[in-house]
């Protein structure tokens, strides 16, 4: 068992790159971003109520994609349930990503939890990858209402 200098470099590089990724990852999770394309009411809705097996909210629908191997999905579910309980025109729907792969591919959902915000017509108006904080959710709902 001999410690060689390439191994020391490899260890340092691995921990260094992982740290950079970890810091970027932590800072980017939970932030809501506006949808890239403008909302064009003429085109067909991106998501239909049938696909998420739930009626849309009269103003907004928060579609949360979850999976079994996801610890922050529980916290996100509890947070969005709590917030939408007080808002009659905003609906929260929790969708198991694995059993909705067609929708997951169309919306390009890559990790869980991802929360996609739909307007009343089923067009995406924003999304957050990772668990959002309470204030982030309240702010985005206020800005889209």
């Amino acid at each position: 068992m001999k410690i060689t200098s390439p191994n020391i470099v490899l260890l340092a590089a691995t921990l260094g790159l992982a740290s950079i990724y970890g810091i970027w990852h932590r800072s980017s999770r939970g932030k809501f971003k506006a949808a890239h394309t403008g909302v064009n009411q003429a085109i067909a809705p991106l998501v239909t109520p049938e696909e998420i097996e739930n009626a849309f909210g009269s103003k907004l629908t928060l579609v949360q994609f979850s999976s079994a191997f996801c610890t922050p999905c529980r916290a996100t579910r509890a947070l969005l349930t709590d917030i939408t309980a007080d808002l009659p025109d905003v609906v929260h729907v929790d969708v198991d990503a694995e059993s909705h792969l067609e929708l997951v591919r169309r919306l390009d959902i890559r990790s869980t939890p991802t929360t996609v915000i739909l307007n009343k017509d089923g067009h995406e108006v924003g999304r957050a990858v990772g668990a959002p904080k309470r204030q982030q959710v309240l702010d985005v709902i206020a800005s889209l209402s």
Partner: protein, 153 residues
Amino acid sequence: MTTLSATSISADKDIQLIDARGPRFGALITTVVLAIALLTSSTFVIGLQLAVFALAVGFGPARGPYGLFFKKFVKPRLSGDVPTEDARPPRFAQVVGLAFALTAFIAGLAGATTVFAVAVAFCLAASFLNAAFNYCLGCEIYLLISRLTHKAR
């Protein structure tokens, strides 16, 4: 206003909850062990970690070697609220660790030093991210694996 779909995996009564600090402590020990394996190019050390991963996958993360060590020696010294989590996400991370450790172990036995080093480095990066940033491996890769392994209709 929440509705869970019929296929939802979130029926809380079915979920086995464990102390969330246990897997994170385990990730810390794993990080140290993998760093030693990488520094010394030791197939023997990877073999030990491979056995730990296999036991944690088989018996659950709370009953694997590091989980039992945490319960007996670390948990009694901790105070405050016990944060809980579903046992499935850390178990999934152990499965991923097992795959990398097995690759490294076989490469080590076969004398494929580059494959050994790369596999140990990936395993180390994942366990370090878990220990330092509470990184959720299952959140990031499980859905990607599902998308790749289930063909589009």
